[in-house]
Symmetry: C2
Subunit: 153 residues, 2 copies
């Protein structure tokens, strides 16, 4: 097996494990909180940057502007986002997370990554350092790829 094949198969295996574990916590949390996929996507997106434009957000999520508008209305009602008129162009709305919205994102991430605590307990300090170092490398290389927006999900 070439280094390339090994790399690919290891990554493949690992992604399956981590996706599986993470999705469990994630779905459970979302369902519990009554958040749709679009809502989660919006919250994550806004957690990385504020966003101008309902239609634009809709495109990002792959839904119509009407759907985006309705979904945002729910998030506003829940007090998770702020929706204000853009003074530059008063047809548009500026969107941002409220404090409560940040909290929800944070909790959702914890729900998704909670199993890491268990994993971490099985690792020596030495191993953790080694892992941190390599992951840091992967992260840096990932950043060099053409960056679509982050925070989709």
């Amino acid at each position: 097996m070439s280094p390339q094949d090994l790399f690919y198969s290891m990554f493949h295996e690992w992604m399956e494990i981590s996706m599986h574990r993470s999705m469990r916590g994630y779905m459970h949390y979302a369902r519990e909180k009554g958040l749709s996929r679009s809502m989660i996507g919006t919250l994550f997106h806004l957690s990385h940057r504020d966003h101008a434009g309902v239609t634009h957000l809709g495109e990002h999520l792959g839904v119509s502007s009407a759907a985006a508008s309705q979904m945002l209305e729910h998030l506003v009602e829940e007090g998770l986002i702020q929706r204000t008129e853009d003074p530059e162009d008063r047809r548009m709305k500026k969107l941002s997370l409220t404090e409560k919205g940040y909290q929800v994102v944070k909790e959702s991430v914890s729900a998704r990554l909670g199993w890491l605590d268990e994993l971490s307990a099985n690792l020596s300090e030495e191993e953790k350092n080694q892992i941190s170092k390599v992951i840091n490398l992967i992260i840096e290389k990932s950043r060099e790829l053409d960056l679509p927006d982050k925070g989709e999900c």
Copy 2:
């Protein structure tokens, strides 16, 4: 920052990047193929092991046995799974993937992991080896955690 904190924050960061990238390809593929979350969950589950019992599968997916039955009917119509009577207990059905079903799972994984090719192109052979080694460690440690069923998603 302690090794523990560093480990956690690196992992956190990495999971966000990889989940985001993977979910994009994944959702897109699923929508394109007209596969619901339950269907995808079923296909992945069956790709790891055959399964006996519609109700049991439903529990695994978090839906009623009626919902599971209906969803399975679609998958049978699509030719993605086989559903046969269990000779041990003829009330139950044995479920397994067809060749076509395996193909769909495989493609879905590719759609999810396609971006790894780009990442891989940015890495030296040396780096790939290093990464493979560490990921292997993580995988092994993950396996030691109490294993719920694999193949959820």
